[in-house]
Amino acid sequence: PVISLLLLSSSIGWSSDVLTPGCHLYPFNVTIRSDRRGTCKGTHLVYACVGYCESSAFPSRYSVLVASNFTHNITSTSRCCTISKDTKVKVRLDCPQGRHHDEIEILTAKACRCDMCRKSRY
């Protein structure tokens, strides 16, 4: 059967927990349900990367000013907390009456690093 997935996670408001510089693994629980009524359900601990990486902004060099037709008078250099290594984990969905089990694969972070703020997501 095709499973429509709903992801529920309690990941909001984690910022106040990790107030140290750098980029660190951060555990959170993911709950996957097979449908809106939650007929089949599974919960698994996975990792995100959360942190504080250095960034700065300063007046642009003259060459940047010229190249941007004097619109970019600020230059910002930054690094962002990214997942540098990930792996897949299987989440087992338990169904009522124990009739059958489904398994869903999800990603989890294995390592984190202050790295490029990826353009596509920037």
Binding site: T20, C53, Y62, I74, S78
Partner: protein
Amino acid sequence: VSTINLRRFIGCAVREFTFLARKPGCGSLHITTDACWGRCETWEKPILEPPFIESYQRVCTYNETRLETVKLPNCQPNVDPTYTYPVALRCDCGVCLTSTTECITSV
């Protein structure tokens, strides 16, 4: 910021910054001004739908500025000696605006 331990600093603050103002046809000038520096919250977390990783990326950048104009020394007669640069009045964690900012991200 100077009184705080910068190695442990979290957040985004105004910080003194010195740069060399130069343009063709003029002498250069060292300028010390207020710019922005800090560490903002960023994260990446796995999600079930494509692209399978959701990210939140904010950088320390200017929130409020005023423009300062100086005269560069020893300019050739046909060259405008003025040089204008932004001074940070307030810095904040925010999205890097490509309309006003040269956004550079480094490894």
